[in-house]
Protein backbone atom coordinates (compact mmCIF):
# COMPACT_ATOMS: atom_id res chain seq x y z
CA UNK A 1 0.00 0.00 0.00
CA UNK A 2 2.71 2.45 1.02
CA UNK A 3 6.29 1.56 0.22
CA UNK A 4 9.26 3.88 0.75
CA UNK A 5 12.59 2.71 -0.67
CA UNK A 6 15.72 4.61 0.34
CA UNK A 7 13.83 7.88 0.40
CA UNK A 8 15.92 10.96 1.25
CA UNK A 9 15.01 14.57 1.53
CA UNK A 10 18.03 16.79 1.26
CA UNK A 11 18.09 20.52 1.91
CA UNK A 12 21.10 22.34 0.53
CA UNK A 13 22.25 25.51 2.22
CA UNK A 14 25.31 26.81 0.44
CA UNK A 15 27.79 23.96 0.49
CA UNK A 16 26.12 22.17 3.38
CA UNK A 17 23.75 19.31 2.80
CA UNK A 18 21.16 18.55 5.41
CA UNK A 19 19.34 15.24 5.37
CA UNK A 20 15.86 15.81 6.76
CA UNK A 21 15.19 12.25 5.77
CA UNK A 22 18.08 9.82 5.37
CA UNK A 23 17.46 6.77 3.23
CA UNK A 24 14.19 5.96 4.86
CA UNK A 25 12.61 2.57 4.25
CA UNK A 26 9.14 1.71 5.40
CA UNK A 27 5.92 0.11 4.34
CA UNK A 28 2.30 0.24 5.39
CA UNK A 29 -0.19 -2.40 4.41
CA UNK A 30 -3.82 -2.02 3.60
CA UNK A 31 -6.18 -1.81 6.64
CA UNK A 32 -3.21 -1.13 8.91
CA UNK A 33 -3.17 1.49 11.68
CA UNK A 34 0.42 2.66 11.93
CA UNK A 35 1.87 5.40 14.08
CA UNK A 36 5.07 7.24 13.30
CA UNK A 37 6.66 8.56 16.45
CA UNK A 38 9.57 10.88 16.91
CA UNK A 39 10.53 14.07 18.72
CA UNK A 40 10.26 17.44 17.01
CA UNK A 41 12.94 17.97 14.42
CA UNK A 42 13.24 14.25 13.79
CA UNK A 43 11.96 14.59 10.23
CA UNK A 44 8.49 13.23 10.84
CA UNK A 45 6.79 16.25 9.23
CA UNK A 46 9.00 15.81 6.18
CA UNK A 47 8.00 12.15 6.07
CA UNK A 48 4.36 13.04 6.38
CA UNK A 49 4.64 15.64 3.57
CA UNK A 50 6.20 13.07 1.28
CA UNK A 51 3.64 10.38 2.12
CA UNK A 52 0.91 12.95 1.66
CA UNK A 53 2.26 14.00 -1.74
CA UNK A 54 2.63 17.56 -0.50
CA UNK A 55 6.37 17.42 -1.07
CA UNK A 56 8.64 15.37 -3.26
CA UNK A 57 11.57 13.28 -2.13
CA UNK A 58 15.03 14.25 -3.36
CA UNK A 59 16.09 10.63 -3.76
CA UNK A 60 14.55 7.19 -3.56
CA UNK A 61 11.26 5.69 -4.60
CA UNK A 62 7.82 6.14 -3.12
CA UNK A 63 4.92 3.91 -4.08
CA UNK A 64 1.37 4.74 -3.11
CA UNK A 65 -1.26 2.19 -4.03
CA UNK A 66 1.26 0.57 -6.36
CA UNK A 67 1.98 3.78 -8.25
CA UNK A 68 5.31 5.52 -8.20
CA UNK A 69 4.79 9.13 -7.19
CA UNK A 70 7.99 10.71 -8.43
CA UNK A 71 7.05 11.16 -12.05
CA UNK A 72 3.85 13.06 -11.41
CA UNK A 73 3.09 16.63 -12.33
CA UNK A 74 1.74 19.17 -9.84
CA UNK A 75 -1.76 18.71 -11.18
CA UNK A 76 -1.57 14.91 -10.93
CA UNK A 77 -0.27 15.21 -7.36
CA UNK A 78 -3.21 17.46 -6.54
CA UNK A 79 -5.59 14.83 -7.93
CA UNK A 80 -3.92 12.12 -5.81
CA UNK A 81 -4.18 14.26 -2.67
CA UNK A 82 -7.77 14.93 -3.61
CA UNK A 83 -8.88 11.33 -4.11
CA UNK A 84 -6.53 9.09 -2.17
CA UNK A 85 -5.48 10.96 0.93
CA UNK A 86 -7.57 12.23 3.81
CA UNK A 87 -5.52 14.76 5.74
CA UNK A 88 -6.07 15.50 9.39
CA UNK A 89 -3.79 18.26 10.67
CA UNK A 90 -2.72 19.35 14.12
CA UNK A 91 -4.18 22.82 13.54
CA UNK A 92 -7.35 21.43 11.90
CA UNK A 93 -6.84 23.57 8.76
CA UNK A 94 -10.46 24.42 8.15
CA UNK A 95 -11.30 27.45 6.02
CA UNK A 96 -12.55 30.16 8.33
CA UNK A 97 -15.19 31.86 6.25
CA UNK A 98 -16.92 28.61 5.35
CA UNK A 99 -19.39 26.57 7.37
CA UNK A 100 -18.66 23.05 8.58
CA UNK A 101 -20.78 21.73 5.72
CA UNK A 102 -18.92 23.79 3.11
CA UNK A 103 -15.57 22.69 4.49
CA UNK A 104 -16.51 19.03 4.24
CA UNK A 105 -17.97 19.58 0.78
CA UNK A 106 -14.86 21.29 -0.65
CA UNK A 107 -12.75 18.23 -1.63
CA UNK A 108 -15.83 16.67 -3.24
CA UNK A 109 -16.32 19.83 -5.32
CA UNK A 110 -12.73 19.49 -6.48
CA UNK A 111 -13.50 15.86 -7.37
CA UNK A 112 -16.52 17.06 -9.35
CA UNK A 113 -18.86 14.77 -7.46
CA UNK A 114 -22.43 15.48 -8.61
CA UNK A 115 -24.50 17.66 -6.27
CA UNK A 116 -26.94 15.00 -5.11
CA UNK A 117 -24.23 12.46 -4.22
CA UNK A 118 -22.16 15.21 -2.66
CA UNK A 119 -25.00 16.19 -0.35
CA UNK A 120 -25.44 12.59 0.76
CA UNK A 121 -21.78 12.03 1.44
CA UNK A 122 -21.32 15.28 3.34
CA UNK A 123 -24.36 14.56 5.50
CA UNK A 124 -23.17 11.01 6.23
CA UNK A 125 -19.66 12.13 7.13
CA UNK A 126 -20.92 14.85 9.46
CA UNK A 127 -23.30 12.36 11.12
CA UNK A 128 -20.43 9.93 11.53
CA UNK A 129 -18.50 12.45 13.65
CA UNK A 130 -21.69 13.60 15.40
CA UNK A 131 -21.73 17.16 14.07
CA UNK A 132 -24.62 17.09 11.62
CA UNK A 133 -26.61 19.46 13.83
CA UNK A 134 -23.79 21.99 13.73
CA UNK A 135 -23.29 21.88 9.97
CA UNK A 136 -24.07 25.57 9.49
CA UNK A 137 -21.53 26.72 12.09
CA UNK A 138 -18.30 28.34 11.06
CA UNK A 139 -15.06 26.98 12.54
CA UNK A 140 -14.71 29.86 15.01
CA UNK A 141 -18.11 28.93 16.46
CA UNK A 142 -16.90 25.40 17.23
CA UNK A 143 -14.63 24.05 19.97
CA UNK A 144 -11.21 22.61 19.12
CA UNK A 145 -12.47 19.04 19.38
CA UNK A 146 -15.44 19.86 17.16
CA UNK A 147 -13.21 21.52 14.61
CA UNK A 148 -11.00 18.46 14.49
CA UNK A 149 -14.08 16.29 14.02
CA UNK A 150 -15.13 18.48 11.08
CA UNK A 151 -11.65 17.95 9.64
CA UNK A 152 -12.05 14.19 10.08
CA UNK A 153 -15.47 14.37 8.42
CA UNK A 154 -13.82 16.19 5.50
CA UNK A 155 -11.35 13.28 5.20
CA UNK A 156 -14.11 10.65 5.54
CA UNK A 157 -16.24 12.26 2.80
CA UNK A 158 -13.42 11.72 0.30
CA UNK A 159 -13.38 7.95 1.04
CA UNK A 160 -9.60 8.00 0.78
CA UNK A 161 -7.23 5.06 0.49
CA UNK A 162 -5.21 6.53 3.33
CA UNK A 163 -6.01 8.66 6.36
CA UNK A 164 -2.94 10.73 7.14
CA UNK A 165 -3.07 12.40 10.55
CA UNK A 166 -0.37 14.79 11.73
CA UNK A 167 -0.51 15.25 15.51
CA UNK A 168 -4.31 15.24 15.42
CA UNK A 169 -4.55 15.58 19.20
CA UNK A 170 -1.69 18.04 19.59
CA UNK A 171 -3.90 21.08 20.08
CA UNK A 172 -6.53 19.37 22.21
CA UNK A 173 -6.90 18.55 25.91
CA UNK A 174 -6.42 14.91 26.84
CA UNK A 175 -10.12 14.14 27.20
CA UNK A 176 -11.01 15.56 23.77
CA UNK A 177 -7.88 13.93 22.35
CA UNK A 178 -9.17 10.58 23.61
CA UNK A 179 -12.49 11.18 21.81
CA UNK A 180 -10.64 11.88 18.59
CA UNK A 181 -8.53 8.75 18.99
CA UNK A 182 -11.79 6.84 19.49
CA UNK A 183 -12.93 8.00 16.05
CA UNK A 184 -9.65 6.83 14.54
CA UNK A 185 -10.07 3.39 16.13
CA UNK A 186 -13.58 3.19 14.69
CA UNK A 187 -12.29 4.17 11.27
CA UNK A 188 -9.66 1.46 11.53
CA UNK A 189 -12.19 -1.13 12.56
CA UNK A 190 -14.24 -0.18 9.50
CA UNK A 191 -11.26 -1.26 7.41
CA UNK A 192 -9.50 2.01 6.69
CA UNK A 193 -5.76 2.49 6.48
CA UNK A 194 -4.43 5.08 8.91
CA UNK A 195 -1.01 6.64 9.35
CA UNK A 196 -0.76 8.76 12.46
CA UNK A 197 2.21 10.97 13.22
CA UNK A 198 2.85 11.99 16.81
CA UNK A 199 5.50 12.68 19.42
CA UNK A 200 3.32 11.22 22.19
CA UNK A 201 4.06 7.56 22.90
CA UNK A 202 0.71 7.22 24.70
CA UNK A 203 -1.07 8.11 21.50
CA UNK A 204 1.32 6.08 19.37
CA UNK A 205 0.72 2.94 21.41
CA UNK A 206 -2.96 2.96 20.39
CA UNK A 207 -1.94 2.02 16.87
CA UNK A 208 -1.34 -1.53 15.67
CA UNK A 209 2.26 -0.87 14.85
CA UNK A 210 4.86 1.83 15.56
CA UNK A 211 7.50 3.29 13.34
CA UNK A 212 10.22 5.31 15.04
CA UNK A 213 11.95 8.23 13.43
CA UNK A 214 14.99 9.98 14.79
CA UNK A 215 17.30 12.46 13.02
CA UNK A 216 15.90 11.44 9.67
CA UNK A 217 16.44 7.73 10.22
CA UNK A 218 13.42 5.47 10.17
CA UNK A 219 13.25 2.23 12.10
CA UNK A 220 10.26 -0.01 11.82
CA UNK A 221 9.10 -1.81 14.97
CA UNK A 222 6.78 -4.73 14.56
Amino acid sequence: MIILKDVSKIYRMGDNEFYALDHANMHVQEHEFVSIIGPSGSGKSTLMNIIGCLDEATEGEYFLDGQEIRSYSQTQLARIRNKKIGFIFQSFNLIGRMSAWENVELPLIYQRVPVRERRERVAQSLERVGLYERREHQPNELSGGQQQRVAIARAIAVEPTLFLADEPTGNLDSHTGEEIMGIFRELHEAGNTIVLITHDSGIASQAQRRINIMDGHVTEVD
Binding site: N49, G52, L54, D55, Q74, T75, A78, R79, R81, N82, K83, F87, F89, N93, L94, I95, G96, R97, M98, L106, P107, I109, Y110, Q111, R112, R154, V158
Partner: protein
Protein backbone atom coordinates in the same frame (compact mmCIF):
# COMPACT_ATOMS: atom_id res chain seq x y z
CA UNK B 1 -17.57 23.71 -11.32
CA UNK B 2 -18.25 27.17 -12.75
CA UNK B 3 -21.21 27.53 -10.46
CA UNK B 4 -19.06 26.46 -7.52
CA UNK B 5 -16.36 29.02 -8.31
CA UNK B 6 -19.05 31.65 -8.66
CA UNK B 7 -20.38 30.71 -5.25
CA UNK B 8 -16.90 30.76 -3.72
CA UNK B 9 -16.14 34.13 -5.27
CA UNK B 10 -19.40 35.45 -3.92
CA UNK B 11 -18.59 34.14 -0.42
CA UNK B 12 -15.27 35.92 -0.54
CA UNK B 13 -16.67 39.20 -1.94
CA UNK B 14 -19.45 39.14 0.64
CA UNK B 15 -17.05 38.24 3.43
CA UNK B 16 -15.16 41.50 2.99
CA UNK B 17 -17.96 43.91 2.19
CA UNK B 18 -16.16 47.17 2.89
CA UNK B 19 -13.03 46.16 1.07
CA UNK B 20 -14.94 44.79 -1.90
CA UNK B 21 -16.90 48.01 -2.15
CA UNK B 22 -13.77 50.18 -2.00
CA UNK B 23 -12.20 48.04 -4.69
CA UNK B 24 -15.31 48.37 -6.80
CA UNK B 25 -15.32 52.13 -6.36
CA UNK B 26 -12.59 52.58 -8.95
CA UNK B 27 -14.59 50.60 -11.51
CA UNK B 28 -17.84 52.30 -10.50
CA UNK B 29 -16.36 55.75 -11.10
CA UNK B 30 -14.71 54.63 -14.31
CA UNK B 31 -17.85 53.08 -15.78
CA UNK B 32 -19.96 55.98 -14.54
CA UNK B 33 -17.80 58.63 -16.20
CA UNK B 34 -17.42 56.57 -19.37
CA UNK B 35 -21.13 56.02 -19.86
CA UNK B 36 -22.25 59.49 -18.79
CA UNK B 37 -19.72 61.33 -20.93
CA UNK B 38 -20.24 59.22 -24.01
CA UNK B 39 -24.03 59.27 -23.62
CA UNK B 40 -24.15 63.04 -23.21
CA UNK B 41 -21.95 63.62 -26.21
CA UNK B 42 -23.90 61.21 -28.38
CA UNK B 43 -27.26 62.59 -27.25
CA UNK B 44 -26.17 66.13 -28.03
CA UNK B 45 -24.75 65.01 -31.34
CA UNK B 46 -27.98 63.17 -32.22
CA UNK B 47 -29.93 66.23 -31.30
CA UNK B 48 -27.76 68.51 -33.43
CA UNK B 49 -28.03 66.10 -36.34
CA UNK B 50 -31.77 65.85 -35.92
CA UNK B 51 -32.15 69.60 -35.65
CA UNK B 52 -30.00 70.33 -38.65
CA UNK B 53 -31.60 67.75 -40.90
CA UNK B 54 -35.09 68.71 -39.73
CA UNK B 55 -34.64 72.45 -39.96
CA UNK B 56 -32.48 72.52 -43.02
CA UNK B 57 -33.95 71.28 -46.29
CA UNK B 58 -31.83 69.36 -48.78
CA UNK B 59 -30.45 72.31 -50.69
CA UNK B 60 -27.21 73.48 -52.11
CA UNK B 61 -26.35 77.05 -51.21
CA UNK B 62 -24.18 78.99 -53.60
CA UNK B 63 -22.01 81.92 -52.62
CA UNK B 64 -20.50 83.96 -55.43
CA UNK B 65 -17.21 85.29 -54.21
CA UNK B 66 -15.84 86.89 -57.35
CA UNK B 67 -18.23 87.50 -60.25
CA UNK B 68 -15.40 88.60 -62.64
CA UNK B 69 -17.55 91.44 -63.93
CA UNK B 70 -20.29 89.08 -65.12
CA UNK B 71 -22.70 89.04 -62.19
CA UNK B 72 -25.55 86.56 -62.20
CA UNK B 73 -29.01 87.96 -62.68
CA UNK B 74 -32.50 86.64 -62.20
CA UNK B 75 -32.49 85.66 -65.88
CA UNK B 76 -29.41 83.51 -65.40
CA UNK B 77 -31.13 81.71 -62.55
CA UNK B 78 -34.29 81.17 -64.57
CA UNK B 79 -32.15 79.65 -67.33
CA UNK B 80 -30.67 77.23 -64.83
CA UNK B 81 -33.96 76.17 -63.37
CA UNK B 82 -35.23 72.68 -64.21
CA UNK B 83 -32.24 71.71 -66.33
CA UNK B 84 -30.77 68.28 -65.79
CA UNK B 85 -30.57 67.40 -62.12
CA UNK B 86 -31.16 70.98 -60.98
CA UNK B 87 -34.68 71.62 -59.73
CA UNK B 88 -35.85 74.94 -58.37
CA UNK B 89 -33.60 77.97 -58.03
CA UNK B 90 -34.09 81.02 -55.89
CA UNK B 91 -31.92 84.00 -55.06
CA UNK B 92 -31.33 84.45 -51.38
CA UNK B 93 -30.09 87.76 -50.18
CA UNK B 94 -29.97 88.27 -46.47
CA UNK B 95 -29.50 91.42 -44.44
CA UNK B 96 -30.56 92.92 -41.18
CA UNK B 97 -33.15 95.71 -41.00
CA UNK B 98 -35.17 97.34 -38.23
CA UNK B 99 -38.76 96.10 -38.17
CA UNK B 100 -41.33 98.44 -36.71
CA UNK B 101 -44.96 98.08 -35.76
CA UNK B 102 -46.61 100.71 -33.60
CA UNK B 103 -44.03 101.75 -31.08
CA UNK B 104 -42.06 98.54 -31.15
CA UNK B 105 -38.84 98.27 -33.12
CA UNK B 106 -36.71 95.14 -33.38
CA UNK B 107 -33.88 93.95 -35.58
CA UNK B 108 -35.17 91.54 -38.19
CA UNK B 109 -33.38 89.17 -40.54
CA UNK B 110 -34.68 89.99 -43.98
CA UNK B 111 -34.44 87.41 -46.76
CA UNK B 112 -35.02 88.59 -50.31
CA UNK B 113 -36.19 85.54 -52.20
CA UNK B 114 -38.21 84.17 -55.10
CA UNK B 115 -41.46 82.14 -54.72
CA UNK B 116 -39.53 78.88 -55.32
CA UNK B 117 -37.62 79.52 -52.11
CA UNK B 118 -40.47 78.04 -50.10
CA UNK B 119 -40.13 74.74 -51.88
CA UNK B 120 -36.35 74.74 -51.81
CA UNK B 121 -36.07 75.38 -48.08
CA UNK B 122 -39.26 73.44 -47.24
CA UNK B 123 -40.72 76.38 -45.40
CA UNK B 124 -44.05 75.57 -43.76
CA UNK B 125 -46.68 78.28 -43.76
CA UNK B 126 -48.85 78.44 -40.64
CA UNK B 127 -51.39 80.90 -41.99
CA UNK B 128 -51.74 83.05 -45.09
CA UNK B 129 -49.43 82.36 -48.04
CA UNK B 130 -45.83 82.57 -49.16
CA UNK B 131 -44.53 85.01 -51.79
CA UNK B 132 -46.14 84.37 -55.19
CA UNK B 133 -45.18 85.05 -58.78
CA UNK B 134 -47.45 88.15 -59.11
CA UNK B 135 -45.68 89.68 -56.08
CA UNK B 136 -42.45 89.40 -58.05
CA UNK B 137 -43.91 90.83 -61.24
CA UNK B 138 -45.67 93.71 -59.50
CA UNK B 139 -42.89 94.46 -57.03
CA UNK B 140 -45.53 94.23 -54.32
CA UNK B 141 -44.39 95.21 -50.86
CA UNK B 142 -45.53 92.07 -49.07
CA UNK B 143 -43.81 90.19 -46.30
CA UNK B 144 -43.98 86.69 -44.81
CA UNK B 145 -42.93 86.77 -41.16
CA UNK B 146 -41.97 84.26 -38.51
CA UNK B 147 -44.39 83.67 -35.64
CA UNK B 148 -42.32 85.60 -33.12
CA UNK B 149 -42.74 88.77 -35.20
CA UNK B 150 -46.53 88.54 -34.88
CA UNK B 151 -46.25 87.88 -31.18
CA UNK B 152 -43.53 90.24 -30.08
CA UNK B 153 -43.54 93.03 -32.68
CA UNK B 154 -47.12 93.19 -33.95
CA UNK B 155 -48.56 92.11 -30.60
CA UNK B 156 -51.44 90.08 -31.99
CA UNK B 157 -52.96 87.24 -30.04
CA UNK B 158 -52.92 84.61 -32.76
CA UNK B 159 -50.58 84.40 -35.75
CA UNK B 160 -53.48 84.44 -38.23
CA UNK B 161 -54.57 87.85 -36.85
CA UNK B 162 -51.39 89.31 -38.32
CA UNK B 163 -52.48 88.61 -41.92
CA UNK B 164 -53.25 91.88 -43.63
CA UNK B 165 -51.48 93.87 -40.96
CA UNK B 166 -48.73 96.35 -41.69
CA UNK B 167 -45.09 96.46 -40.59
CA UNK B 168 -42.33 98.89 -41.48
CA UNK B 169 -39.10 97.37 -42.75
CA UNK B 170 -36.24 99.82 -43.07
CA UNK B 171 -38.73 102.65 -43.41
CA UNK B 172 -40.94 101.02 -46.09
CA UNK B 173 -44.43 99.83 -45.44
CA UNK B 174 -45.09 96.12 -46.00
CA UNK B 175 -48.31 94.11 -45.82
CA UNK B 176 -48.07 90.83 -43.96
CA UNK B 177 -49.42 88.05 -46.20
CA UNK B 178 -48.20 84.94 -44.42
CA UNK B 179 -46.90 83.61 -41.13
CA UNK B 180 -44.46 80.74 -40.92
CA UNK B 181 -45.59 77.74 -38.89
CA UNK B 182 -44.00 77.54 -35.50
CA UNK B 183 -42.39 74.23 -34.71
CA UNK B 184 -41.53 72.88 -31.33
CA UNK B 185 -37.80 72.95 -30.92
CA UNK B 186 -35.58 71.33 -28.36
CA UNK B 187 -32.78 72.90 -26.37
CA UNK B 188 -30.14 72.34 -29.01
CA UNK B 189 -32.30 73.72 -31.83
CA UNK B 190 -32.97 76.83 -29.83
CA UNK B 191 -29.29 77.24 -29.27
CA UNK B 192 -28.49 76.71 -32.95
CA UNK B 193 -31.14 79.06 -34.27
CA UNK B 194 -31.12 81.54 -31.46
CA UNK B 195 -29.68 84.36 -33.55
CA UNK B 196 -32.22 83.82 -36.31
CA UNK B 197 -35.33 85.17 -34.76
CA UNK B 198 -37.65 87.79 -36.35
CA UNK B 199 -37.31 86.36 -39.84
CA UNK B 200 -38.96 88.23 -42.73
CA UNK B 201 -39.20 87.05 -46.33
CA UNK B 202 -39.82 89.64 -49.03
CA UNK B 203 -39.93 89.32 -52.84
CA UNK B 204 -36.54 89.68 -54.48
CA UNK B 205 -37.75 92.21 -57.00
CA UNK B 206 -39.25 94.39 -54.35
CA UNK B 207 -35.94 94.44 -52.52
CA UNK B 208 -34.17 95.75 -55.60
CA UNK B 209 -36.47 98.71 -55.71
CA UNK B 210 -36.87 99.51 -52.03
CA UNK B 211 -33.41 98.88 -50.62
CA UNK B 212 -31.18 99.77 -53.54
CA UNK B 213 -30.27 96.14 -53.81
CA UNK B 214 -28.13 95.63 -56.88
CA UNK B 215 -29.56 93.50 -59.68
CA UNK B 216 -26.85 90.93 -59.42
CA UNK B 217 -27.11 87.87 -57.29
CA UNK B 218 -24.36 86.88 -54.87
CA UNK B 219 -26.15 84.13 -53.09
CA UNK B 220 -28.75 81.62 -54.16
CA UNK B 221 -30.10 78.23 -53.32
CA UNK B 222 -31.12 75.28 -55.49
CA UNK B 223 -32.92 72.01 -54.94
CA UNK B 224 -32.49 68.78 -56.84
CA UNK B 225 -34.96 67.94 -59.61
CA UNK B 226 -37.56 65.31 -58.61
CA UNK B 227 -35.93 61.87 -58.52
CA UNK B 228 -32.41 63.28 -58.83
CA UNK B 229 -29.82 63.28 -56.11
CA UNK B 230 -28.59 66.47 -54.52
CA UNK B 231 -25.01 65.44 -55.18
CA UNK B 232 -25.72 65.22 -58.94
CA UNK B 233 -27.39 68.61 -58.84
CA UNK B 234 -24.43 70.04 -57.01
CA UNK B 235 -21.96 68.61 -59.54
CA UNK B 236 -23.94 69.92 -62.45
CA UNK B 237 -24.26 73.34 -60.89
CA UNK B 238 -20.55 73.37 -60.12
CA UNK B 239 -19.71 72.56 -63.74
CA UNK B 240 -22.00 75.34 -64.98
CA UNK B 241 -20.53 77.92 -62.66
CA UNK B 242 -17.00 76.85 -63.47
CA UNK B 243 -17.69 77.42 -67.11
CA UNK B 244 -19.18 80.82 -66.45
CA UNK B 245 -16.30 81.96 -64.26
CA UNK B 246 -13.53 80.86 -66.60
CA UNK B 247 -12.62 77.74 -64.68
CA UNK B 248 -11.83 79.61 -61.47
CA UNK B 249 -12.75 77.36 -58.59
CA UNK B 250 -12.17 80.14 -56.10
CA UNK B 251 -14.86 82.35 -57.64
CA UNK B 252 -17.74 80.59 -55.93
CA UNK B 253 -18.46 78.30 -53.05
CA UNK B 254 -21.03 75.51 -52.86
CA UNK B 255 -22.38 74.51 -49.51
CA UNK B 256 -24.71 71.64 -48.78
CA UNK B 257 -26.21 70.44 -45.57
CA UNK B 258 -24.58 67.02 -45.75
CA UNK B 259 -21.14 68.63 -45.68
CA UNK B 260 -22.15 70.55 -42.59
CA UNK B 261 -23.48 67.41 -40.93
CA UNK B 262 -20.33 65.50 -41.77
CA UNK B 263 -18.16 68.11 -40.14
CA UNK B 264 -20.41 68.26 -37.08
CA UNK B 265 -20.24 64.49 -36.80
CA UNK B 266 -16.48 64.50 -37.09
CA UNK B 267 -16.29 66.96 -34.23
CA UNK B 268 -18.66 65.03 -31.97
CA UNK B 269 -17.00 61.71 -32.78
CA UNK B 270 -13.64 63.17 -31.81
CA UNK B 271 -15.13 64.62 -28.66
CA UNK B 272 -16.71 61.28 -27.83
CA UNK B 273 -13.44 59.45 -28.35
CA UNK B 274 -11.53 61.97 -26.27
CA UNK B 275 -13.93 61.80 -23.34
CA UNK B 276 -14.21 58.05 -23.68
CA UNK B 277 -10.45 57.66 -23.44
CA UNK B 278 -10.25 59.89 -20.37
CA UNK B 279 -12.93 57.74 -18.74
CA UNK B 280 -11.12 54.63 -19.98
CA UNK B 281 -8.01 55.75 -18.14
CA UNK B 282 -9.98 56.03 -14.92
CA UNK B 283 -11.26 52.50 -15.51
CA UNK B 284 -7.68 51.39 -15.95
CA UNK B 285 -6.79 52.99 -12.62
CA UNK B 286 -9.73 51.11 -11.13
CA UNK B 287 -8.22 47.93 -12.52
CA UNK B 288 -4.94 48.66 -10.79
CA UNK B 289 -6.94 49.05 -7.58
CA UNK B 290 -8.36 45.58 -8.11
CA UNK B 291 -4.90 44.15 -8.65
CA UNK B 292 -3.68 45.81 -5.47
CA UNK B 293 -6.46 44.42 -3.31
CA UNK B 294 -6.26 41.01 -4.90
CA UNK B 295 -2.54 40.87 -4.13
CA UNK B 296 -3.25 41.73 -0.49
CA UNK B 297 -6.02 39.18 -0.47
CA UNK B 298 -3.73 36.46 -1.86
CA UNK B 299 -1.14 37.18 0.81
CA UNK B 300 -3.76 37.18 3.55
CA UNK B 301 -5.26 33.96 2.37
CA UNK B 302 -2.03 32.07 1.84
CA UNK B 303 -3.05 29.53 4.45
CA UNK B 304 -6.46 29.05 2.87
CA UNK B 305 -4.75 28.47 -0.47
CA UNK B 306 -2.50 25.92 1.23
CA UNK B 307 -5.48 24.08 2.70
CA UNK B 308 -7.30 24.08 -0.63
CA UNK B 309 -4.22 22.72 -2.37
CA UNK B 310 -3.65 20.08 0.31
CA UNK B 311 -7.16 18.71 -0.12
CA UNK B 312 -6.83 18.62 -3.87
CA UNK B 313 -7.26 22.00 -5.57
CA UNK B 314 -5.14 22.12 -8.71
CA UNK B 315 -3.35 25.21 -9.96
CA UNK B 316 -6.06 25.90 -12.46
CA UNK B 317 -8.75 25.60 -9.78
CA UNK B 318 -7.04 28.25 -7.64
CA UNK B 319 -6.39 30.42 -10.69
CA UNK B 320 -10.03 30.16 -11.65
CA UNK B 321 -11.18 31.01 -8.15
CA UNK B 322 -9.17 34.22 -7.91
CA UNK B 323 -9.92 35.28 -11.47
CA UNK B 324 -13.59 34.75 -10.77
CA UNK B 325 -13.29 36.96 -7.73
CA UNK B 326 -11.71 39.86 -9.58
CA UNK B 327 -14.12 39.41 -12.46
CA UNK B 328 -17.03 39.48 -10.05
CA UNK B 329 -15.75 42.64 -8.36
CA UNK B 330 -15.25 44.44 -11.66
CA UNK B 331 -18.60 43.35 -13.10
CA UNK B 332 -20.44 44.31 -9.92
CA UNK B 333 -18.68 47.66 -10.06
CA UNK B 334 -19.73 47.96 -13.67
CA UNK B 335 -23.35 47.21 -12.80
CA UNK B 336 -23.38 49.79 -10.01
CA UNK B 337 -21.70 52.33 -12.29
CA UNK B 338 -24.28 51.74 -15.02
CA UNK B 339 -27.12 52.06 -12.55
CA UNK B 340 -25.64 55.28 -11.23
CA UNK B 341 -25.18 56.80 -14.67
CA UNK B 342 -28.68 55.70 -15.64
CA UNK B 343 -29.96 57.60 -12.62
CA UNK B 344 -27.90 60.69 -13.35
CA UNK B 345 -28.85 60.70 -17.04
CA UNK B 346 -32.53 60.37 -16.18
CA UNK B 347 -32.16 63.28 -13.76
CA UNK B 348 -30.36 65.32 -16.40
CA UNK B 349 -33.04 64.50 -18.95
CA UNK B 350 -35.74 65.85 -16.70
CA UNK B 351 -33.62 68.86 -15.73
CA UNK B 352 -32.81 69.97 -19.29
CA UNK B 353 -36.06 70.72 -21.14
CA UNK B 354 -36.73 69.02 -24.46
CA UNK B 355 -33.56 66.93 -24.22
CA UNK B 356 -33.22 63.27 -23.44
CA UNK B 357 -29.96 61.59 -22.49
CA UNK B 358 -30.12 57.88 -23.09
CA UNK B 359 -27.81 55.10 -22.02
CA UNK B 360 -27.17 53.41 -25.34
CA UNK B 361 -26.88 49.61 -25.37
CA UNK B 362 -23.60 49.99 -27.23
CA UNK B 363 -22.07 52.00 -24.42
CA UNK B 364 -23.39 49.55 -21.85
CA UNK B 365 -21.90 46.63 -23.73
CA UNK B 366 -18.65 48.49 -24.17
CA UNK B 367 -18.32 49.21 -20.47
CA UNK B 368 -19.29 45.66 -19.49
CA UNK B 369 -16.72 44.31 -21.95
CA UNK B 370 -14.03 46.71 -20.82
CA UNK B 371 -14.75 45.97 -17.14
CA UNK B 372 -14.47 42.23 -17.57
CA UNK B 373 -11.31 42.71 -19.60
CA UNK B 374 -9.85 44.80 -16.78
CA UNK B 375 -11.02 42.33 -14.13
CA UNK B 376 -9.35 39.46 -15.97
CA UNK B 377 -6.14 41.25 -16.90
CA UNK B 378 -5.53 42.77 -13.48
CA UNK B 379 -6.72 39.64 -11.70
CA UNK B 380 -4.35 37.43 -13.64
CA UNK B 381 -1.16 38.37 -11.82
CA UNK B 382 -2.50 37.92 -8.27
CA UNK B 383 -4.39 34.77 -9.27
CA UNK B 384 -1.29 33.29 -10.83
CA UNK B 385 0.67 34.17 -7.73
CA UNK B 386 -1.84 32.23 -5.65
CA UNK B 387 -1.93 29.30 -8.05
CA UNK B 388 1.86 28.99 -8.10
CA UNK B 389 2.19 28.62 -4.33
CA UNK B 390 3.57 25.32 -3.09
CA UNK B 391 1.12 23.60 -0.77
CA UNK B 392 3.64 22.98 2.03
CA UNK B 393 4.88 26.57 1.99
CA UNK B 394 1.35 27.91 1.93
CA UNK B 395 0.26 25.62 4.78
CA UNK B 396 3.12 26.80 6.94
CA UNK B 397 1.96 30.43 6.72
CA UNK B 398 0.29 31.72 9.86
Amino acid sequence: MLLESLKMAWVSVRGNKMRSFLTMLGIIIGVFSLTVLVSVVSSVSDSINGAVSRLAAPTVEVLIINDKGHPLTMDDLSAMENTGSIGSVSPESQFSLPIKSGYITKDAQVYCVAPMYQEIQAIKIGSGRFIKEPDMENHTQVVVVSADVTREVMKVARPQDAIGGHVTLGGYDFVVVGVIAEEKSDAVEELLYFSQSYNCYIPWNCAIRSFNQAQHINRFAISAAPGKSLADAQNELGAKLLERFDGDEEAFHLLNIDDALTSINTITATLSLLMGSVAGISLLVGGIGIMNIMLVSVTERTREIGIRKAIGATRSTILQQFLMESLMISLMGCAVGLLLSWGVLSLASSAVPNMSFRLSPGVMMLSAGFSSFIGLVFGLYPANKAAKMKPIDALRAV
